[in-house]
Amino acid sequence: MSFFVERGGAKVRGLTVMEMLVAAALFALAIGTIIGIFPLSAKATRQSQAALVAATVVQDEMELIRAMSYEGIPAFREREIEVEVVFAGRVVVLTYQVTSRAEIKGDGVRPDGLKEVEVTVVWNEPDGKTRKEALKTDVARLSP
């Protein structure tokens, strides 16, 4: 095989068709793979953003309950929180269902005057999956 093509008596240097075909095929394969990874990465970013907001919401609700007097902590409380998040330049509204439950511990083993508080946040991913984040603690009555 010669790498020289004679045109009008002058030698012209270039790449062969085979070389180009192989290079193009490799490039297309790689680009296809990369293009497939970017959406996964974007989805992971979206999920982590929603989860980060959920972590903040559940912790805020827990702190709100902990700030209440022992007697004032409700046995059950449910509310919906909407949070606007900017993702890829667009404002997206995420909706979180926040539920808190408080139950007086009365198993006879632990000391009395304790309320077990559990706060749960539930939200839906864009792909329809439901995710949940929960925190649990105990609150003590400070009088006998």
Binding site: R13, A23, I37, A44, E71, P111, L135, K136, A140
Partner: protein, 450 residues
């Protein structure tokens, strides 16, 4: 020269260009792969941050559950010390806490260096995942306090509470065994964390009534009318909170097992208020002086010398700080103003029935605007048709409380440290503080998330 073969230098140059396209493509792909790896790594990294944050928060609240557990142990026994743990607190977390008690000055420092002042206790709690990872610690310094300062009700009655006419401002809780009625604009705010409205009978609201969003109103029976902004308004409540006050004239708050969780309405030891041999600060009056100088003493007016009760008229004045006690069915009447915003009367006003002469329960009646700092306490009714400001505690032991004009009640539980009410202060010895095995409420001095 043979052109078909080219000269040696041209052949070297042409052979060195073999496969250059592949090399270029691989270089570009390598660069792209690095970019993709970086982006993917950032996404995975943020997911990892979420996971760490969640585990850390769960550990922190597990540690605080340990603190709550320790506090209850200390409330039941102020001298408790040792280690507690709950290895299966939740599906993923556990806690352990150590209690360092310096009630008697024997443990002035905790192992982590925290200084424990005399009379206080330090709780060091650890929460973590069950495998020990993501540990969080919480350090809390607490001290036992007298029951008097934890009394949660600005107004407490064995009978009814009627707040009618004028504007009502209650800073603290209200509880009555009988109905509670708000028929005029009423605002209830928490004070020192207390601001509940509780009744063992019914709650009737016909005037604009507003509570704080952190407080609740509960009735064993019905609730009529609207309370704005309350956290919860619960009728037909069956919790211990709406169980009636225990007002069976016991002079100590000790509860039987079946009474656990109920509140005993304070009732004084009579001798502390009437017998100078028991309490040297008692001054026995046989007539009502024109100007009564309280001088820090307990001024006793007995039913024998005052069968018609004690009436403070326009010619009477009260100065200084102290306690006024009237025993007998007619109680105390104030026809004049006592105290003012700039010079409140710092006195405990107490009307008690005579145990040797059963009869109508004595009442306290205010007919003119008054401003009092202290305990207003009657075995019978407490009535006021004038503007009242009371910074302390108002208790009608078996009677009802009726206020018909502007009212400002500000809870100050320390007013229950009045003479005669020692048993309700948690004091058991001359040291002034709780002893081993004594139970009592706790005050949090500081709470540190470490």
């Amino acid at each position: 020269m043979n052109r078909s073969r080219g000269c040696p230098s041209q052949r070297r140059v042409s052979h060195s260009r073999l496969g250059i396209a592949l090399a270029l493509v691989l270089s570009v792909l390598a660069l792209l792969a690095i970019v993709v790896a970086a982006v993917t790594s950032m996404s995975l990294g943020s997911l990892n941050v979420i996971k760490v944050r969640g585990s850390s928060a769960r550990s922190l609240y597990a540690a605080e559950a340990g603190v709550a557990h320790a506090m209850r142990l200390l409330i039941n026994d102020a001298s408790y010390q040792g280690t507690q743990q709950e290895p299966n607190y939740s599906e993923t977390t556990r806690w352990q806490c150590q209690i360092f008690n310096n009630l008697e000055g024997s443990t002035p420092t905790a192992p982590n260096g925290a200084v424990i002042p005399d009379g206080m206790t330090y709780i060091l709690a650890r929460g973590a995942r069950k495998d020990g990872s993501y540990e969080r610690r919480v350090g809390v310094l607490v001290k036992p306090i007298s029951l008097a300062t934890s009394w949660p009700f600005a107004v407490g009655a064995g009978g009814e509470v009627r707040l009618q006419g004028g504007q009502k401002f209650i800073r603290g809780g209200i509880k009555a065994n009988g109905p509670i009625r708000f028929t005029s604009p009423t605002r209830i705010e928490p004070r020192a964390g207390h601001g509940r409205v509780l009744t063992s009978t019914s709650l009737q609201v016909s005037g604009p009534t507003r509570m704080d969003s952190s407080q609740d109103a509960r009735s064993r029976g019905s609730i009529s009318g609207n309370i704005q902004n309350a956290l919860e308004v619960v009728a037909n409540d069956s919790t211990i909170d709406t169980e009636p006050f225990i007002n069976d004239y016991r002079t100590e708050p000790n509860l039987s097992p079946s009474e656990q969780g109920q509140l005993v309405l304070p009732n004084p030891v009579l001798a502390q208020l009437t017998d100078p041999t028991v309490n040297p600060d008692v001054v026995v009056h046989t007539f009502l002086p024109g100007s009564l100088d309280l001088d820090g003493k307990v001024h006793y007016f007995s039913v024998h010398d005052f069968p018609d009760g004690v009436v403070f008229g326009n010619t009477n004045s009260i100065i200084g700080e102290g306690t006024i006690v009237v025993v007998g069915p007619k109680g105390i009447e104030f026809n004049n103003s006592i105290g003012s915003a700039s010079d409140p009367l710092k006195a405990n006003l107490i009307a008690l029935s005579d145990p040797d002469a059963p009869g109508p329960l004595p009442s306290i009646n205010f007919k003119n605007n008054s401003h009092i700092e202290g305990l207003v306490y009657a075995h019978g009714d407490i009535d006021a048709g004038a503007n009242m400001t009371i910074e302390g505690v108002v208790i009608a032991y078996e009677g009802s409380i009726t206020f018909g004009a502007n009212v400002d009640f500000i809870l100050d539980g320390s007013s229950l440290s009045a003479p005669g009410f020692e048993a309700f202060q948690g004091v058991v010895d001359s040291g002034g503080g709780p002893g081993p095995g004594d139970s009592g409420p706790l005050e949090v001095v500081f709470w540190q998330r470490l």
